[in-house]
């Protein structure tokens, strides 16, 4: 039990510190930055969404659906069944790959210089894109912390974690990273519509 406590204290402390930093940053933005007036917000809302914003919204929605479906399957059948049952594992991998391909089709193909030589992004889109990793990194760190804490609590007495969880951790982190990227873009445009960028 003492070994668990040794791990839990710094991990929980880290999660709390990250959470506190995120809350404080949001508070500073909310209080210190001048907001758009109601009329200015209406004018921004009346303009069509930039293509990147639309695609990020779709990508976020589909990413959340993918994560939700995979979580529902794993919760229903359990990690052991996922490891032993080839059909179940293939189904989950297929859903996972479909989610990845969708993200690449919707977002990565648009923002990567590999695929789009004549970029469809303007400078404000690029600004939003550059800030998106802040949300992405935060979500990935929280996901890792949640896995860490829950696995330590669950398998502490056995002294080892079953190998299947390595796959699950990897899959979750990849999915959450893609979702976080889309969420970061959506948050960036939302901030723009509330506060502007200057």
């Amino acid at each position: 039990m003492e070994a668990t406590s040794n791990w839990l204290v710094p991990v929980l402390g880290g999660v709390l510190a990250l959470g506190a930093i995120a809350v404080y940053s949001a508070y500073c933005v909310w209080v210190r930055r001048a907001r758009l007036t109601a009329e200015q917000r209406r004018e921004v809302a009346a303009t069509p969404m930039p293509k990147l914003q639309k695609r990020a919204l779709w990508s976020l929605l589909l990413g959340l659906i993918t994560l939700g479906v995979i979580s529902a399957i794993l919760t229903t059948y359990g990690a052991a069944e996922y490891w032993d049952n080839d059909d179940l594992r293939l189904t989950v991998v297929a859903i996972f790959l479909a989610g990845m391909v969708t993200h690449v089709g919707l977002l990565a193909a648009m923002v990567s210089p590999l695929w789009s030589e004549e970029s469809e992004l303007d400078e404000r889109d690029r600004q939003v894109l550059a800030q998106a990793p802040a949300v992405q990194t935060g979500l990935v760190l929280v996901t890792l912390a949640v896995w860490n804490i829950s696995l330590i609590k669950r398998f502490h007495d056995q002294g080892a974690v079953p190998m299947v969880y390595l796959y699950l951790i990897f899959g979750t982190v990849v999915l959450v990273s893609l979702i976080g990227h889309s969420a970061g873009i959506v948050v960036g445009y939302w901030m723009g519509s509330r506060f502007g960028e200057s």
């Binding site: 069509p48 930039p50 400078e123 960028e197």
Partner: protein, 70 residues
């Protein structure tokens, strides 16, 4: 350091140029209409390249269009 505000006369210039729409200006300078809206509201500080393209569109210099207010 106090944050500077950048004001501009883009909205006025658009109307003086055959009532150019925000969409038309956006297409000419290569940005989205939403960027033009925020720019006109003085809530978005453009890059030098975008400021120069806007100035060229209206046949003016950058400092005739954009003013720094501290």
């Amino acid at each position: 350091m106090a944050k500077a505000e950048i004001h501009n006369s883009i909205r006025k210039l658009r109307f003086e140029h055959d009532e150019m729409t925000q969409q038309q200006l956006a297409e000419r300078v290569g940005c989205s209409r939403q960027t033009i809206v925020l720019l006109e509201q003085g809530r978005y500080a453009p890059s030098l390249a975008l400021a120069l393209r806007v100035a060229k569109t209206f046949d003016q210099t950058v400092d005739e269009i954009f003013q720094l207010r501290e």
